[in-house]
């Protein structure tokens, strides 16, 4: 059949009334209606008669027809452009607001016994219990929502954090995700654009007699109720309320628990992880090996940016990246202004690690900073309290997320931050001597044992 068929009047096509001025067919009026005027002609006629336009009379409004000039006389829906996010945060930049530059200000030798007591004591700056509990409840809801949603884009996650009141300024989402990853609750895509909740797992604590576990990954009320039937469950909010409630289980009859889970509906979705921190630590690469595993960023053009390099102690402006190290790429600021990094609240465009082989690598900000310090000093200082199983790491040496996971998975708790001896420390708990031994060899730790 020829295409001309399309232009042929259909046997069912109706005849329409025509405008008595311009002769145009009026599609919504049957042919029997006579003496009618189309909108264009009616509007034009009224215009010539100098009648004012009545907004309520939509039928009398003018509208666009072919090349005639359009007269915007119709009422319309008010239009406000949707606000757009101007600043886009680097997904890997999850550092806290504290300035991490500067050399390690205090040496282990400078810490007195009193300082060490304070270092491993509960921090005095913790928020009060009510505030901490309220914040924890919000994080619980966030994890509950993620467990039900399963996966999504980073934008949905940001929106949810904002809706729940966890991210007022749009900069906290990356940090929240980092904490949730450390605790084994979620995973993210390599480019940081999507997240997915991790499967629920009962994870054995590294320290102790092996009867203590914590719950990681997805959770919901029915899972918690089931677990409460089988084990002694303790709910502990994170000290500063910066993560979901830690769920600890004490299980004396492990075989009995296995049997109960086998017989329940939970079996296909609930995992057990024994000694996962140790298993993970044993398979960790060394720091130089890890640096080689970082994602290569091709086509980097440093000459279009202002650069500064971290030499392991402090930041130094450089013209060109001649030496390996940790570099920040900054947009040039206006003529006569200070250096861009002096501007309050400014952030670099990129933070990259330049390796000996000349490749630029992308990774989490703490990791790149750690790599620079490690390359310069060769070791990482730590203090270990063998009585309590606590490990203190200078905050300036915040470990790469890849390695820090081993510390957090050992206890299911995030580190608490202490200011002792004029500097900030991160104190991890539940670190067994065996785990510390493995980490010492991988990260070349210089540990002072107390």
């Amino acid at each position: 059949m020829s295409e001309d068929f399309n232009n042929r009047p259909s046997p069912w096509m109706r005849q329409y009334a025509k405008c008595n001025i311009c002769g145009k067919a009026l599609r919504h009026l049957p042919f029997a209606v006579a003496n009618v005027t189309c909108r264009d002609c009616y509007g034009l006629d009224r215009y010539r008669r100098n009648e004012s336009f009545s907004p309520s009379g939509i039928s009398g409004s003018s509208s666009y027809r072919g090349s005639q000039p359009f007269r915007p006389a119709q009422p319309v829906i008010p239009y406000e452009p949707t606000p757009r996010y101007v600043a886009v945060q680097d997904p890997f930049d999850a550092r806290d607001e504290e300035v991490l530059d500067g050399p390690l200000q205090a040496k282990r030798n400078a810490l007195s016994e009193k300082d060490l007591e304070a270092l491993f004591a509960p921090p005095s700056w913790w928020p009060d219990e009510v505030t901490s509990r309220q914040r924890t409840e919000v994080y619980d809801r966030l994890l509950q929502w993620m467990s039900a949603t399963c996966s999504g884009g980073i934008q949905i996650f940001r929106n949810t954090c904002t809706e729940l009141g966890l991210d007022e300024d749009g900069t906290q989402a990356s940090r929240i995700l980092r904490r949730l990853r450390l605790l084994g609750h979620v995973e993210t895509a390599p480019d940081g654009s999507r997240w997915t909740v991790a499967p629920p797992a009962i994870v054995q604590l590294v320290a102790g007699d092996g009867s203590r576990f914590f719950l990681s990954g997805a959770r919901d009320e029915s899972l918690l109720r089931e677990l409460e039937k089988w084990a002694s469950v303790e709910r502990l909010p994170m000290m500063d309320g910066s993560a979901p409630t830690s769920i600890f289980l004490t299980v004396h009859d492990l075989d009995g628990l296995f049997k109960r889970i086998d017989a329940s509906e939970l079996k296909p979705r609930l995992h057990f992880a024994f000694d996962v921190a140790l298993w993970f630590a044993q398979r960790l690469p060394t720091v130089p090996e890890w640096a080689q595993m970082l994602e290569v960023l091709p086509g980097v053009q440093p000459d279009s940016f202002m650069l500064r390099r971290h030499d392991g102690k402090s930041w130094k402006p450089v013209a060109l990246p001649k030496e390996p190290g940790f570099y920040e790429f900054w947009e040039d600021c206006a003529e006569g202004a200070d250096d861009p990094w002096e501007v309050q609240g400014a952030r670099p465009c990129k933070s990259l690690l330049l390796l000996e082989d000349g490749t630029w690598r992308r990774g989490d900000w703490y990791g790149l900073s750690f790599a620079a310090r490690h390359a310069a000093q060769g070791h990482c200082p730590t203090i270990y309290d063998s009585a309590t199983g606590q490990l203190a790491v200078p905050r300036a040496w915040h470990w790469p997320e890849f390695f820090e996971r081993a510390l957090v998975l050992a206890s299911g708790r995030l580190p608490c931050c202490q200011r002792v001896g004029g500097q900030l420390w991160l104190v991890y708990e539940g670190i067994s001597p065996a785990l510390l031994d493995v980490l010492e060899s991988k990260l070349n730790l210089q540990t002072t044992r107390r």
Partner: protein, 579 residues
């Protein structure tokens, strides 16, 4: 032969399974849908010699009639699956409505004559007709309303919007089944004849087919024009598209008539999904396969550029998007589908524009796709050829508004994206524009209830304490114009008015949702009415979604996902054996 109970449950499943929560459900029973139900849901108990309609009618007669009198007691209450027992009987009433015709063709317009025929009842006796009209014996005026209301409540409790409505005057109760029949048999016959004759190309998607029909006004009866002018337009799209597909099938087989058997292959039509990388602003387009209504395939396989992709359900009616190169936008795409067998290929039609609306299940997800036509005031992205974009310029600020015009991705030199686009005027009648684009942009309703913000629940709806804000969009001459908004709460046995407000048009209103539950928002202004369903879910109803975790730390031969570590299998090289 399938029993009445089997038909009853099958009908309930057929019309609700796969429907998105909050969407409208029509009990659109006709000869084609009954055939489809028998082929897909009742294949084991089909009577080989009878047509599906005969089988169905026989089951209804056997169950409901007693001495040629309708016995309503047989359809009261619920089945053990908690499904109303009356659905199949109501379906029979709709089947009668579907067999009604226009006055200009050889179908009788008397509803009850058709109902008597469906129930196998003889014509009325004169004496009975004087007192009861043409109604079947045992079905006094209005007695069927209770069953329609029960069907509506049952749908509402499952998060769907019911559509059966009472008419006015003499039409009061007859209107219930008539409102459910989207496409009558006479109209189907007309459209079948038209599609056979029209010579349209075979690779059109449903939007293109409907647009062409509307624009040319071919084969549209007054009933169908009425359907297209109100909110049933979206629901009638699929049945019409199936008729268009039949034509392709018939051409392949060289047949002049006959419906497509369920086992026959047909193309799986894809829409377009646009996703933007939040960090670097890079825009990616995806093929977005849309499952046809009532095709129960939840997974499959497709081959794109020699690579096999899994088809998995993302949501009601939509498969997971498949990444694609940008040139598909300009060229269209055709990829073979290896599973399920009834899809021959995945087809993205070649078009000169794409209307990409925000995700109806999460308007802030950043995804835009061909999920439907934009309502008044809804922000969307218009991806179109530059030549078409130029023709929109005179409409800017009057009927259409957009914030910026961005060059489309490299590889789409002749295309442009109009971002933050909104339809702001309603009088599109005399606009001269590309006909398909005009039909897509023309608002179908004078009012549009927009829901924004809040926290979306995975299973649909919003979470308690984080319900949405309401904006009623409509064309207003001044900022003072208002709209009447009534919020009803749907309970198991009734609908209760929760609150009534007068809100300014086009301004978001913060609503305090009292509790978890299902709410119906009704907006009225002048003669225009629109409604939307809002589901508020309690936090403790959330449950873990057990889908496999996609990401994790992977290094060497190990993987850590959350707190679960595993050793990955080492790929065996040729000539080697694993120890």
């Amino acid at each position: 032969m399938a029993t009445y109970e089997e038909w009853n449950n099958a009908l309930a499943k057929y019309f609700t399974a796969g429907a998105a929560r909050g969407s409208k459900v029509y009990l659109n029973v006709d000869d084609d849908s009954l055939r489809h139900i028998r082929e897909t849901l009742l294949s084991s108990s089909a009577m080989p010699d009878a047509t599906a309609s005969e089988d169905f009618c026989e089951a209804v007669r056997y169950h409901v009639l007693e001495k040629k009198t309708v016995c309503l007691d047989a359809i009261r209450g619920r089945t053990k699956e908690n499904v109303p027992k009356s659905i199949a009987f109501l379906g029979a009433m709709v089947l009668a409505a579907a067999r009604m015709g226009e006055t200009d063709i050889s179908y009788s317009n008397d509803y009850f004559t058709h109902l008597r025929d469906v129930l196998g009842l003889p014509p009325t006796r004169k004496a009975y007709e004087v007192t009861h009209g043409n109604r079947p014996e045992g079905l006094p005026t209005g007695c069927e309303e209770q069953f329609w209301l029960e069907w509506s409540r049952w749908l509402q409790r499952r998060g769907f919007l019911p559509t059966a409505t009472r008419g006015e005057g003499a039409e009061a109760f007859r209107h219930y089944p008539i409102s459910q029949s989207l496409l009558r048999q006479a109209e189907k016959d007309k459209l079948r004849a038209f599609f056979t004759e029209c010579g349209w190309p075979s690779h059109l998607d449903s939007d293109q087919v409907i647009t062409r029909l509307l624009w040319r006004n071919y084969g549209l009866t007054s009933h169908l024009r009425e359907v297209f002018s109100d909110d049933r337009a979206e629901a009638v799209t699929d049945p019409i598209y199936e008729l268009y597909e039949e034509r392709t099938y018939q051409r392949v087989l060289g047949k002049r008539s006959g419906a497509i058997p369920q086992a026959t292959q047909r193309p799986l039509i894809a829409g377009l999904l646009r996703r933007e990388n939040w960090f670097n602003g890079e825009v990616m387009y995806h093929l977005y396969p849309r499952r046809q209504a009532h095709h129960y395939a939840d997974e499959g396989q497709i081959i794109v550029a020699g690579e096999t992709h899994q088809l998995a359900m993302q949501r009601a009616r939509w498969f997971e998007p498949i990444p694609a190169t940008v040139d598909i936008v300009a060229r269209g795409a055709l990829h073979p589908v290896t599973q399920p067998h009834f899809y021959s290929e995945l087809m993205l039609p070649q078009r000169s524009f794409w209307v990409l609306v925000p995700d109806p299940e999460n308007d802030r997800s950043g995804d835009f796709a061909s999920w439907g036509a934009p309502g008044l005031g809804t922000r969307f992205i218009l991806l179109l050829k530059k030549s078409l974009a130029r023709s929109l310029e005179p409409l800017r600020g009057v009927l259409l508004q957009w914030q910026d015009e961005a060059e489309a991705e490299s590889g789409l030199a002749e295309w442009v994206e109009l971002r933050d686009c909104a339809v702001i005027g309603e009088d599109w009648d005399d606009v001269s524009l590309d006909e398909e684009l005009l039909e897509e942009l023309r608002p179908r309703h004078k009012l549009n209830v927009g829901l924004s913000g809040g926290l979306r629940a995975a299973q649909g709806g919003w979470l308690q304490g984080h319900g949405p804000d309401i904006t009623v969009f409509g064309v207003a001459a001044s900022e003072e114009e208002t709209v009447e908004v009534t919020i009803y709460r749907i309970r198991s046995d009734r609908e209760q008015k929760e609150s009534q407000h007068i809100y300014p048009l086009n301004q978001p209103q913060i609503i305090t949702w009292p509790d978890s539950g299902i709410y119906r928002i009704e907006a009225r202004r002048g003669g225009a009415t629109t409604e939307r369903l809002v589901l508020i879910q309690a936090w403790d109803e959330l449950c873990i979604n057990t889908a496999k975790s996609e990401y994790g730390l992977q290094w060497g031969q190990w993987r850590l996902c959350g707190a679960v570590g595993e050793e990955l299998p080492v790929p065996v090289k040729k000539g080697e054996q694993r120890v």
